[in-house]
């Protein structure tokens, strides 16, 4: 049962203790980011920390002076922070939802990408929540939401839904990580106390495997409705008010579609970076990028369908309050945002991804970056225009332009997310080792067997002598 393990000539791989856990010899490359740290890592960390420090300074200024240091005012009470909140919560759909769906349908190509997707969810959701807290005028009173919480407020629905989602997606990231942590505990020397604690005594017995797979498959199913609910209630924050172009029944599904859309795009960018930085071309192959690109392409059309429905309904209904906002977006002060959004969410990605020759990794990355810019703009022109031209007063509205504080905090959010992601890759394998091992060992046979069940039983004539078509 136990294979003999050679001491790796490179530092950090001792001989294995006795257990059922297979050494990651074939996938030693996946441990390299954890075992070796070069100067590039430190340079990256320092740069990211510098940006984070700027954001911290900006927030300290805001905490001291009040929200007056932002570009917000009356009537645009919400701006960048709420946009960031919606955007980051949207990105968080990348992981859990895609990973869960691929697991449930038994898509074998998922094995190397699920981990990197799930990490995005957990890390980015922190910044979604963080931006709501940054937006509060009195962050010192945030516990009032618990002490005096009123369930009739859609913000409370968000609090409940996001808390459940964060807990579940963290669990859903952690469960498939346990066997890999055990590998790290048994075959590496770094941070052993951490891995010993997190491995929860995993020894890889068949019973443990059964329990783990059961838990993962239950979580994969349960997490889907939770993920859908999260972005639905985020949209409800807007849709439940009676403000023009917010009060729309389409907002729930529209936000969910937009979330999956930007989530896939974020995943493609993250995977391309991992592949490039850690040289993991063997694991994150063209096939993965091609499949994800096709998913992104489908979501482009879904996004276009929802956006078209939303704007056509408003236009045809022709209600004055709604039309004021409509024209602000189509030809008014927010027209640049709107048309760049249409280009980056639909025209450019569709042009790139429809063509097999441009649907390369580079093409997918360009399309994905475009989509994420477009989706940020989409969130922005959902939040701001509806506020900047309220029903009353009819006076000319005050335009909103974010100040250095808001820009710095946005930059710091991206930097902090990247930093957390990088640190994760330095502590845990970003491609699931045990799932790749399992794929090599069992999947080929399983998939062959499964394929056979798809096909009808071949017809076997009773009388071999009789030619086909002849009447008996």
């Amino acid at each position: 049962m136990m294979q003999h393990v050679h001491t790796d000539p490179r530092r950090g791989l001792p001989t294995a203790p006795s257990s059922n856990i297979r050494p990651p010899i074939e996938d030693i490359k996946l441990l390299e980011p954890i075992l070796y740290t070069g100067p590039k890592f430190y340079i990256t960390v320092v740069c990211l920390l510098a940006v984070i420090a700027l954001g911290v300074f900006a927030y300290m200024t805001q905490y001291r002076e009040g929200l007056g240091v932002t570009g917000l005012g009356r009537p645009v009470y919400w701006g960048f922070y709420i946009t960031n909140f919606v955007f980051f919560i949207g990105i968080s759909h990348a992981g859990t939802l895609i990973s869960a769906i691929l697991r449930i349908v038994g898509a074998e190509w998922r094995r190397t990408i699920t981990r990197s997707a799930e990490v995005i969810t957990v890390m980015v959701i922190l910044f979604g929540v963080g931006n709501i807290l940054i937006d509060l005028g009195r962050p010192d009173r945030m516990l009032n939401v618990v002490l005096f919480g009123k369930l009739r407020s859609p913000l409370l629905w968000d609090v409940c839904s996001i808390t459940v989602y964060l807990t579940m997606s963290t669990t859903y990231l952690y469960l498939p990580l346990i066997p890999d942590i055990a590998i790290l505990r048994d075959y590496t020397t770094k941070h052993r106390w951490l891995y010993r604690m997190l491995a929860l005594g995993w020894t890889g017995t068949p019973r443990q495997h059964r329990v783990l797979e059961l838990l993962i498959s239950v979580m994969a199913i349960v997490v889907i409705p939770v993920a859908v609910s999260v972005h639905t209630v985020v949209s409800f924050v807007f849709a439940m008010t009676i403000q023009p172009m917010w009060h729309s029944a389409i907002f729930g599904p529209y936000f969910v579609v937009g979330a999956i859309f930007s989530g896939i795009a974020a995943l493609i960018v993250a995977m391309a970076l991992i592949r490039w930085v850690y040289d993991l071309g063997d694991y994150l192959k063209d096939l993965h990028f091609n499949n994800l690109s096709l998913m992104l392409l489908v979501m482009c059309f879904a996004w276009f369908y929802f956006t078209g429905s939303e704007f056509l309904t408003t236009f045809y209904g022709n209600e004055p309050a709604h039309m004021g906002i409509f024209w602000m977006k189509i030809s008014g002060p927010y027209a640049p945002h709107f048309w760049v959004m249409v280009a980056t969410c639909f025209v450019i990605p569709v042009a790139i991804l429809c063509n097999k020759r441009t649907r390369t990794i580079l093409g997918a990355v360009i399309a994905s970056i475009c989509v994420n810019i477009g989706m940020y703009l989409e969130r922005f022109i959902i939040v701001v225009p509806s506020l900047s031209q309220p029903r009353l007063p009819h006076a000319e509205s005050i335009p909103y332009s974010p100040t250095w504080v808001e820009w710095s905090i946005l930059a710091a959010c991206f930097a902090a997310f990247t930093l957390l992601y990088v640190l994760f890759t330095k502590l845990f394998p970003i491609v699931s080792i045990w799932e790749v091992q399992e794929g090599r060992e069992n999947s080929i046979a399983e998939v062959t067997a499964r394929l056979k069940t798809y096909l009808p039983e071949p017809y076997v004539p009773e009388d071999k002598e009789q030619p086909i078509g002849a009447t008996p």
Binding site: E65, G66, L67, G68, G71, L72, G73, R74, P75, V76, Y77, W78, I132, D135, L136, G137, R138, P139, R141, M142, N144, V145, L147, F148, G149, K150, R152, S153, P154, L155, L156, V159, V237, M240, T241, I242, Q243, L387, P390, R391, L392, P393, H394, A395, I398
Partner: protein
């Protein structure tokens, strides 16, 4: 139980802004200065808003309309508050608990009349003004939402007085600062639930209308259109 409300007769209103000033003095609204006002940070619980609801196309009538908080009977701001910092009391006044508000500004975005204000910074008064603040009205800290309270402190004072003299509250004893200051007598304040009160009679006048009535917010500040 009284239902406090106000009728504003646009036929009498001269748009002198006496109500605006009276409100600012009464309720300790800080002056913000030109720069901040330009960024939409001034405090005008009572505000003159441009209103063009009347007149036909070739000759629309443009006018200014005094707009306090309308104290909706179905207030969109109250239901969205996540901590119950804004509420409608049993007498119909929509109030704000400054010490509970977390400053999320959901109520300010939900109000279709944009009648709620946020404290973008710690309020400051220049030297002579700072000695003349109204001791009955609390100073709001930075980071919380504030709004017209229908001069609720005046109701409390009037009640205390009535209680001290061991008699019920008389009609006309509780009047908001804006209504009291109006030189044209365009603002009538009182108990809407009493059919004999002046405000109640005016509210049923043929000239009466409510702002953005089709939204179903059911304001208790009612306007009388011009031209009888």
């Amino acid at each position: 139980m009284a239902k406090w409300g106000m009728v504003i007769d646009l036929d009498r209103c001269t748009a002198c802004q006496g109500c605006v000033t009276a409100c600012q003095a009464e309720n300790n609204l800080p002056p913000t200065g030109a720069v901040e006002a330009d960024r939409g940070r001034n405090y005008t619980w009572m505000e003159m808003i441009p209103f063009s609801g009347e007149g036909e196309h070739p000759k629309p009538i443009e006018r200014l309309l005094p707009r306090p908080c309308l104290h909706c009977d179905n207030p969109p701001c109250v239901k969205v508050c996540p901590v119950g910092a804004t509420f409608k009391n049993e007498e119909g006044i929509v109030g704000q608990i400054f010490s509970r508000c977390i400053g999320c500004r959901y109520c300010t975005t939900a109000c279709p009349y944009t009648a709620r204000y946020f404290n973008w910074s710690t309020p400051k008064w220049p030297a002579p003004m700072s000695d003349h603040l109204n001791p009955d009205v609390s100073i709001r800290p930075k980071g919380v939402v504030e709004k017209c309270t229908l001069c609720h402190h005046r109701l409390q004072n009037a009640r205390d007085q009535a209680r001290a003299e061991n008699r019920p509250l008389r009609s006309g004893e509780y009047v908001t600062a804006c209504a009291e200051a109006c030189p044209a007598g365009a603002m009538v304040f009182g108990d809407m639930s009493n059919p004999e009160s002046e405000v109640s009679k005016l509210a049923h006048s043929r000239r009466a209308f409510k702002l953005l009535e089709d939204l179903g917010t059911d304001p208790k500040v009612i306007y009388l259109r011009e031209g009888d």
